[in-house]
Symmetry: C2
Subunit: 267 residues, 2 copies
DNA sequence: CGCGGCTTTGATGTTCATCAAGTAAAGTGG
DNA sequence: CCACTTTACTTGATGAACATCAAAGCCGCG
């Protein structure tokens, strides 16, 4: 029903003896489409990933080894679907590199983007413990690398290590709170303010540069901040005419940060 | 800074020998204003409350007894402030009876209501594990009873009982997800649909009756679903003219549920 | 009794979505 | 690789939805 089937394990992971176990685990599924491009970069390993993720600080050596034995990773090309709404959640997934959109479509077919997932974000964390299925779909906006740890193994650790639970709760809370805060902030703002907000977000929080390539279409920006494609474009054009930004296709350069900040606050 | 100071412990709780300990605990604070009316109803006890709350299912007798020793309760009159944004979170609080609004005001002074807290909801659960302070304010819309369990004691249990942690995570996830889902649903809808939604929410989820007294002003409804007071009233009037609802001051009667449902879906 | 907050209605203007139409860019199949 | 199709982008015109402003009645409260 949801497009899952077994597929070859990424080569780096196969080299772990531990990983062999996974192949026989009833919990192991991969997406029907082959991983769009398995990253051959040998510097990325599951063990290293688990060991270095801030989420797992405080776990014992033993626990880390245990988890890394049930970890795999996949690379997704730009545009590829990572998880679909309704799929069963079998992993805790950690975005290691890239950018995802978390989205859903309402019954009348209109797409809504709930949030963007950035490196070190966990995927589906909200839904994991309140339901068995993803509540939103996840799609790659850039080439993205995702580490997946079997959910049942995480739960095994959770039951034994309350401190880890506290940490995970913190993770979930922070992520959820950011989404909620954002949703209400966006709602308060007029269209000019919303565009200013998202531009500052890309420049400040995602790309850390005043010049960046938009990873999303104008339409997707509209879906993210609740406005129509046409108005996204209109306000982009307006900001360009006013010398606040420069636009070259997908490339945006912020020219007048002060006015943009003022616009973010007051529309 | 935030209006906390010691105050007499509610009588029922004082009767627990365990509770005496609380009085000397550095963690014990009560609000500066006396609890607006301490409920003398002897049928409500902290022990009973902790034992019966679904959140605590699965805890051992010992653990329950431990927690109930660090539990107190307070009654808040309609309109009273329960927690203020920015206050330190010292308790996990459980709304036992009544209705609260979870709200905040933006820097330009406009109020926004994030959600309504119903009986059995936990207060500030989102913020507890991501920060030390309440992110939103909580105010009573009806006379409300709140049980508070010392946060440090909860954490003590959490570290030792991973299953309880899993349960709490589920709680947090579910609550956060409901808020997020709601926020995006409301955003999709036009004003007519929003009013229909909130009327159905009051009738179906809160009062379980087609006839109920609105616990909020028209202004607050606007703050909750993102529209102006005037338009809330206008659409109320429109629905009354169309025979969908009857209005008598704060009393609302839903007359035509089918049309209301249709309006909720399609505006 | 008078004041302030809540409610209500009408008039007005702004903001924003929709529609339409055209250009550019990007994928697709022969 | 080119013709073809589709998708993304852009601008303008129009109207609908919604906020704002104004005015008046109502109610509770000190």
């Amino acid at each position: 029903m949801n497009g899952f089937t077994k597929v070859s394990v990424p080569p780096v992971c196969i080299s772990h003896t531990d990983m062999i176990i996974i192949m026989f685990s009833e919990f192991l599924y991969f997406r029907k489409e082959k991983p769009s491009s398995v990253n051959p970069d040998q510097s990325v390993s599951c063990r290293e990933c688990v060991y270095s993720a801030p989420l797992f600080e405080g776990l014992s050596e033993e626990e880390l080894t245990y988890l890394s034995g049930y970890t795999s990773y996949q690379t997704f090309k730009k545009g590829a679907s990572v998880f679909l709404r309704g799929e069963e959640i079998l992993f805790i997934s950690l975005l290691k590199k890239g950018l995802l959109k978390v989205h859903t479509s309402s019954h009348d077919g209109k797409e809504q983007i709930i949030s963007l997932a950035r490196p070190d974000d966990c995927l589906g964390l909200l839904g994991v413990f309140s339901g068995k299925h993803y509540q939103y779909s996840y799609s790659a906006l850039e080439e993205s690398v995702i580490f997946s740890i079997e959910l049942s193994r995480i739960k095994y650790i959770l039951r034994r290590n309350g401190t880890f639970g506290l940490k995970l709760i913190g993770r979930i809370s922070t992520a959820a709170d950011a989404i909620i805060h954002n949703a209400f902030e966006i709602r308060r703002k007029n269209l000019r303010g919303r565009i200013a907000t998202i531009l500052n977000d890309f420049a400040g929080n995602i790309y850390h540069s005043d010049r960046f390539d938009l990873p999303v279409s104008r339409k997707e920006i509209g879906e993210l901040i609740g406005m129509t494609t046409e108005n996204v474009i209109r306000i982009f054009s307006e900001y360009r005419r006013d010398g606040i930004i420069a636009i070259n296709g997908k490339t945006i350069t912020i020219l007048d940060k002060e006015r943009l900040n003022a616009l973010e606050k007051f529309g």
